[in-house]
Symmetry: C2
Subunit: 145 residues, 2 copies
DNA sequence: GTTAAAACCTCTAGTAACTAGAGGTTCAAG
DNA sequence: CTTGAACCTCTAGTTACTAGAGGTTTTAAC
């Protein structure tokens, strides 16, 4: 009956919508200690505040950028202990950028080869599919992968 | 003592080296029915022939190109039943190319944003790390991700 | 005030594609 | 004949969730 006004609490469903993170994922993050295990209602339901919303948005953004949960964990702890944190955070991000660039280069090569494989239109009546032939025969490839 | 000469059989380790696929992975592929459960020596060790080597190379190549094991399974069965197979194989490959292109585009956007985050050199003595700030604040992002 | 649906709870198991490890057997070389 | 590498099976762990079972609470309608 008595509703607190100062910080309206969010149910897990409301948090989910606000951060665009699915409900089971939020519970999973709690279990993994990425967000705090918050207080509960009389009926044992989680009650979140603005703080957890911010944290969850942080996590979501980092995940969308491809950081691993482990990276996220480290970044969060750096965020919470403000001294000397930035060098570490920077190196995590830089390392991640590096790995994104590697994947990018690799994917580009794959694109080229797949393109080549797909575009060999099976025009005539060859006895075997060119796609399958191309997969069987690595020597056709122009680059490593 | 009596070695068959016609098709010298390969141990799993030799097969592994020849196809550049790790030994436990080969066993895993057998369990997943991607390669045949071959005959064994008296001492219960697997004996492979050229046929399995070709098959394993096929799988390896397809995996390197990013096809899922499920795709590989389908491609293999198409390879083994030669009629009307090519359209299917082609569509699997085309679909895969499509998805590679999506990932490529997405990764490029990530690269841009990460680059931006990383290059905001924390020159001055700001009270919070720019990397962490950038992650907390999605509104800085130039594109969706 | 009741009732029904939606949202919540916990827990377990499943996904993909391996990888690691335990605990034991067989093979090849010296 | 012995030692060490390579082999065997089986189970469990990895990542980041997702799905489902089986049950409780909240909310909205009547």
């Amino acid at each position: 009956m008595t509703r607190k006004k100062n910080t309206a609490s969010l149910s897990i469903g409301q948090l989910s919508k606000a951060a665009n993170v699915k409900v089971p994922t939020i519970r999973y993050y709690e279990q993994q200690q990425l967000i705090a295990a918050v207080g509960r209602s009389e009926g044992n339901q989680r009650q979140y505040s603005e703080q957890e919303l911010q944290q969850l948005k942080f996590i979501k953004h980092a995940r969308d950028l491809g950081f691993s949960l482990n990276d996220v964990r480290t970044l969060i702890s750096l965020d919470h202990q403000p001294n000397a944190s930035c060098e570490n955070a920077h190196s995590i991000a830089a390392k991640h950028l590096e790995s994104v660039r590697c994947r990018l280069a690799r994917l580009k090569r794959l694109e080229d080869e797949l393109e080549r494989i797909v575009s060999q239109s099976d025009s005539g009546l060859n006895d075997q599919c060119s796609v399958i032939k191309a997969l069987a025969d690595h020597s056709q490839c122009e680059s490593e992968h």
